[in-house]
């Protein structure tokens, strides 16, 4: 019988082993022994480890009993979201103080009701599927992650660092993500054919500066997104921002993150006005928004639809800002 922290569970030899840590202090040893974290299991359930009975790691350790990963807190303008919280739990928590927060808009529409009750923040960050409804908002919000490694050391990294350099997250547990609490001035769009569908792409728009948190995870100063986003090309750093020249000054500009593009996502800074967006398809290269061809849909078509949605989003936000100013 395998060791289990829960005396009522009996696991036979040769089976995939399961461990059920109750305390975070048990995690480093499990990581060093090759156990794999189990969040909602919605990806793991389809992996070869489960499906083909191939024994690659030692087994899974379930995160649901770790109360630190189920914690949600709001302090000093920053939300700390435990990595074990489900999409539904995040929506419920954030809705208590901001029903229009971009994460509420994105996660309340992701997947299906039954899946939103299982998919966790940690599992979604670790996998970042192209259809993710979480990745775009987290990038736009300049989220910071707290990680725990097999030696028990905690570290902090930015969400883009984590996505770009997969070695950062290897054999580490994501403990939580930090995001700005105030992100209701925002636009979120998911390109789907039916209500419950994998989005072909998503568009997240926030006014520049929304992602500038006072303190990063672990207490270090966070890099304000406004400073960093002069002409951020997340996956194709050579192409410039959409529309007119960006000065690096965040006043009146927007951060636009599109997921589902070639290279998974693209982050742009759009200066002040929707009218700065290129209108003609031959200006595509200015946006760097290149999409792979999908079943029944060319990349060119998706790029066009994405630009329409970005324009709509910017117009909507500018209208809201104009109304705010005239009050």
């Amino acid at each position: 019988m395998n060791k289990s922290t829960d005396p009522e569970i009996h696991i036979e030899r040769g089976e995939l082993s399961w461990r059920y840590p109750q305390k975070l202090s048990e995690v480093p040893e499990l990581l060093s022994e090759g156990y794999i974290p189990h969040g909602g299991g919605t990806t793991l359930v389809k992996t070869p480890l489960v499906k083909s009975k191939v024994k690659r790691g030692r087994g899974f350790f379930d995160l649901s009993r770790l109360k630190e990963l189920k914690a949600f807190s709001l302090s000093g303008g920053t939300c700390t979201i435990g990595a074990g919280l489900t999409y539904a739990e995040v929506v419920t928590n954030i809705s208590t103080f901001d029903i229009n927060h971009i994460l509420v808009k994105a996660l309340s529409r992701a997947a299906s009701n039954a899946l939103r009750n299982r998919i966790t923040i940690g599992g979604s960050i670790a996998t970042f599927p192209v259809w993710s409804d979480l990745a775009g908002p987290l990038i736009a919000l300049n989220s910071r992650l707290k990680l725990l490694d097999s030696s028990g050391k905690e570290s902090t990294c930015g969400i883009e660092e984590y996505f770009k350099d997969r070695s950062i997250g290897r054999n580490k547990l994501i403990l939580y993500a930090e995001v700005p609490a105030s992100a209701s001035v925002s636009y979120y769009y998911r390109e789907v054919r039916t209500r419950f569908d994998y989005p072909l792409f998503t568009v997240s728009i926030l006014p520049s500066g929304t992602g500038g948190m006072a303190k990063a995870a672990g207490g270090a100063e966070a890099t304000g997104i406004a400073k960093a986003a002069g002409s951020v090309g997340a996956t194709a750093a050579t192409s410039g921002p959409v529309g007119s020249e960006s000065t690096g000054d965040s006043a009146g500009s927007y951060i636009v993150v599109v997921t589902g593009t070639r290279g998974k996502y693209r982050k742009l800074q759009v200066a002040s006005s929707a009218s700065n967006l290129p209108k003609q398809p031959d200006e595509t290269e200015k946006t760097g928004l290149q999409f792979p061809d999908r079943q029944g849909m060319s990349g060119e078509y998706l790029e066009h639809v994405a630009r329409v949605q970005i324009r709509r989003g910017l117009e909507m936000l500018e209208k809201a800002a104009g109304q705010g100013r005239s009050k």
Binding site: E8, I9, E15, G41, T42, L44, K46, F60, N117
Partner: protein, 166 residues
């Protein structure tokens, strides 16, 4: 592996492969009322309530939910002499059922929704049932069924299993 689950209010000690899904474990232990469809999280027919909340049992590894409370469609009526719960009656009366394959899941999702939100808007209903595909009814009658269920529950003052502390 061997572990306990609380299924429809009763503790059941079950033996299962540690790689098995909750759907496989439930069906192999006689809970055939839980239907199997796509087994990919896409059709919703396998939905059960886990601690009162809908999940796709095909996407849940059973070993990850040991000791927890699982409710199948049978759990809504087992302690009820009338045979049908108000939600089931509503689906039958409003024509929310044709072949019936998707119905247990839809009834459970409706039950869970109305437990938390007794007067849902159309949008709330569509959100709650967004992962439950029906090949027969065309959904309009399903919306009607949920609204009728809400009326029936309100009229009967019936509380959900969860609210009664079971």
């Amino acid at each position: 592996m061997k572990a306990d689950f609380i299924i429809n209010g009763r503790r059941e000690s079950l033996e299962f492969d540690s790689r098995a899904t909750l759907l496989e474990v439930l069906r192999n232990s006689g809970h055939r009322e839980v239907k199997s469809g796509c087994e990919n999280g896409e059709c919703g027919v396998c939905t059960v309530l886990l601690d009162g909340i809908p999940v796709n049992s095909c996407m849940v590894l059973a070993a990850s939910v040991i000791g927890r409370e699982v409710t199948t469609i049978r759990g809504l009526t087992e302690d009820d002499d009338t045979g049908l719960s108000p939600v089931q009656e509503a689906f039958a009366e409003a024509g929310g059922i044709q072949c019936g394959f998707c119905t247990p899941a839809k009834v459970l999702v409706t039950y869970s929704l109305l437990s938390r939100n007794p007067q849902p808007s159309d949008e709330d209903i569509m959100n709650a049932l967004d992962g439950n595909i029906c090949r027969c009814t065309g959904y309009v009658k399903i919306l009607d069924s949920v609204k009728l269920a809400a009326e029936k529950l309100k009229a009967s003052g019936k509380e959900s299993r969860k609210e009664r502390g079971k």
